[in-house]
């Protein structure tokens, strides 16, 4: 009953949003280049770290075609940028979506009790759908268009005008990805906006109401993910390496290096996870995962998809993508072995879930570093996060007694922080135009700390507020009976036969 009433509210809300969508005159929403032209944000020849390559590559790539290509009136003679870069980014969108569905859902699904596996995989699936809608209506614009230091603008609400900007050549507002259609860049960033909240689910698994989860994630995507993404990756975010003037001088507060999402994605998700399990409280009877084969499949698909995540963040198919892929592979393998051996030494046996968790820890830690460090940096990062995340998922958790069910905090926040900070140590100028501590740049090293702390603090506070609001509004936690009998049957009317 109450569930049903709340659900109706939820439907109302969403439908409203959708209707606004319909309301927005198709004309504006789709046909009018004006707004695009209107909002001129600083061109970013050396935009975001991720964009830098692409940006600089642009001339090179376009060169033969006498850049910039003149764009005619029909769609397809519009300059389609670099078809190789575009092909790789289209592929990366598919790879990163695969990380969340089915990847993450299975990785988590194998670690819960059999009676909750359906709810767990459905959480990943529903978040994918919900965030897609919120993002195309609102948060893409808030995060990735020019506005101010703290939040972007509304020029891309409902993706209006997104189709035209490559045509406007140099003045594209999408300096973040100059050689590909903005639609593709938008889709690529969407997959990041999807997986981040999906990661949080690892902390509140097996006990949060499905309806509460939808409210929580929806609000979090708007009030936490969008601003943080803008700060770090937006054209004028206050920590964003893309926030430079025409001469390439940094215009923000302090510049943070985050190639593919150590702070925006992993620390952000991990800290939100910690808050959620603190607010929810412990599960009644935690049990070992019910099926390590599902976890194996999930970890493997996360690894494969992560090539799109990290190498795709080069926003081009070239040298930087190649090195990003290389260091991703190395750090992941090293971290997986490290976790396996540490657990083997600690508990006497190497486990499937252990090596899989170690691989994910490595993927997390190399994420912010992937465009900046080299093979040896990756090796060290892999060892560091293999040990660090194992402790995060065991000693740390047990010491404080919170029930981070699937270790979203222990792996993603801890691993993300290790990676973000070591990026400030091992960044190699030759690869990325940025140096780390080893190359003597102390300032960058300190900025990395600043970035981690800023994001963690903001995230913790706002997430806590959102959780409290949702708790009052619809109630966060399922009843004891539901938790005991399993969320699958009680909330979804389904069971694995």
């Amino acid at each position: 009953m109450t569930l049903f009433r709340r659900l109706t509210g939820l439907m109302a809300a969403l439908t409203a949003a959708l209707m606004i969508g319909l309301a927005a005159p198709a004309a504006i929403a789709e046909d009018n280049p004006a707004p695009a032209a209107a909002q001129a944000t600083p061109a970013a020849p050396a935009a975001a770290p991720a964009a830098a390559p692409a940006a600089q590559a642009a001339p090179a790539a376009a060169a033969p075609a006498a850049a910039p290509p003149s764009c005619s009136s029909t769609v397809l003679e519009k300059c389609t940028g670099n078809s190789g870069d575009t092909a790789w980014l289209l592929t990366s969108v598919a790879l990163v979506l695969m990380m969340t569905i089915p990847g993450l859902g299975l990785f988590y699904g194998g670690m819960v009790s059999k009676k909750n596996v359906g709810d767990t995989v459905m959480t990943s699936f529903a978040i994918t759908c919900l965030v897609t809608v919120i993002y195309f209506i609102l948060t893409y614009s808030l995060a990735f268009t020019g506005g101010g230091w703290f939040i972007g603008g509304f020029s891309r609400v409902f993706l209006q005008g997104i189709h035209y900007d490559l045509a406007s050549g140099a003045n594209t507002p999408n300096g973040l990805a100059p050689t590909i259609p903005e639609t593709v860049y938008m889709m690529f960033q969407m997959t990041f906006a999807i997986i981040t909240p999906a990661l949080i689910a690892g902390s509140f698994a097996e006990r949060m109401k499905f309806s509460a989860m939808l409210w929580f994630i929806g609000l979090w995507a708007i009030f936490v993910y969008a601003p943080v993404a803008h700060w770090v990756w937006g054209p004028d975010g206050f920590m964003s390496a893309a926030n430079v003037d025409a001469k390439g001088n940094f215009q923000g507060a302090f510049q943070v290096l985050d190639f593919a999402g150590g702070t925006v994605v992993h620390i952000n998700a991990g800290v939100a996870g910690l808050m959620s399990c603190l607010v929810l409280g412990r599960r009644k009877t935690p049990a070992p995962g019910h099926n390590m084969v599902l976890t194996y499949i999930g970890a493997a698909l996360l690894w494969v998809g992560w090539f799109g995540f990290n190498a795709g963040s080069a926003v081009s198919a070239g040298l930087q993508a190649g090195m990003a892929m290389t260091v991703t592979q190395i750090a992941t393998a090293v971290a997986a072995l490290t976790w396996m051996f540490v657990e083997w030494a600690h508990r006497g046996k190497p486990t499937v879930i252990g090596i899989a968790s170690g691989a994910v820890a490595g993927l997390v830690a190399i994420t912010p570093a992937s465009g900046f460090v080299g093979p040896v940096g990756a090796l060290v990062i892999g060892i560091a996060c293999g040990v660090g995340c194992y402790l995060g998922a065991t000693a740390l958790k047990h010491a404080f007694g919170y029930d981070d069910a699937l270790d979203a905090f222990g792996v993603h926040a801890v691993g993300g922080a290790i990676g973000a900070i070591l990026t400030g140590v091992f960044a190699v100028n030759e690869f990325s135009g940025h140096s780390g501590l080893l190359e003597g740049d102390v300032g960058q090293f300190i900025n990395q700390f600043k970035g981690v702390i800023t994001v963690a603090v903001y995230d913790a506070i706002v997430t806590f507020i959102i959780l409290k609001i949702v708790d009052v509004a619809v109630g966060l936690r399922v009843s004891e009976e539901v938790e005991r009998d399993g969320l699958d049957l009680a909330l979804h009317g389904e069971v694995v036969h």
Partner: protein, 112 residues
């Protein structure tokens, strides 16, 4: 008639089945069960934590037999199921009032 109910280690099923056919018992029913007793359980490892599992997989075999061969059946099972290690299991024998073969309606001995 008697029902001989034996709890045995799973990997002993084939041997017990053969021992019974050897003495002319051609029907039995097997159930997967979990047993708790003297035999110590094992531990599962999950994310660096250990979980003790005290219920161990066993098989329950039920055989309805004529009273006068019950003893023989018990001996056959003991001989086939024994490993000598803790956890080999138990055999319980209890009275069976009547038996029917569903297919034919035959009763008691004829039903076995």
């Amino acid at each position: 008639m008697k029902i001989v109910m034996a709890i045995i280690k799973p990997f002993k099923l084939e041997e017990v089945r053969d021992a019974l056919t050897a003495i002319g018992v051609h029907g039995l029913t097997v159930t997967e069960v979990k047993g708790y007793g003297r035999q110590k359980g094992h531990t599962e490892i999950y994310r660096g934590a250990e979980y003790a599992v005290s219920f161990l997989p066993k098989l329950k075999i039920e055989v309805a037999v004529d009273a006068d061969i019950a003893g023989q059946v018990v001996e056959a099972i003991v001989a086939a199921a024994r490993t000598g290690q803790i956890g080999d299991g138990k055999i319980f024998v209890y009275q069976l009032d009547s038996a029917v073969r569903i297919r034919t309606g035959e009763k008691d001995k004829d039903a076995l």
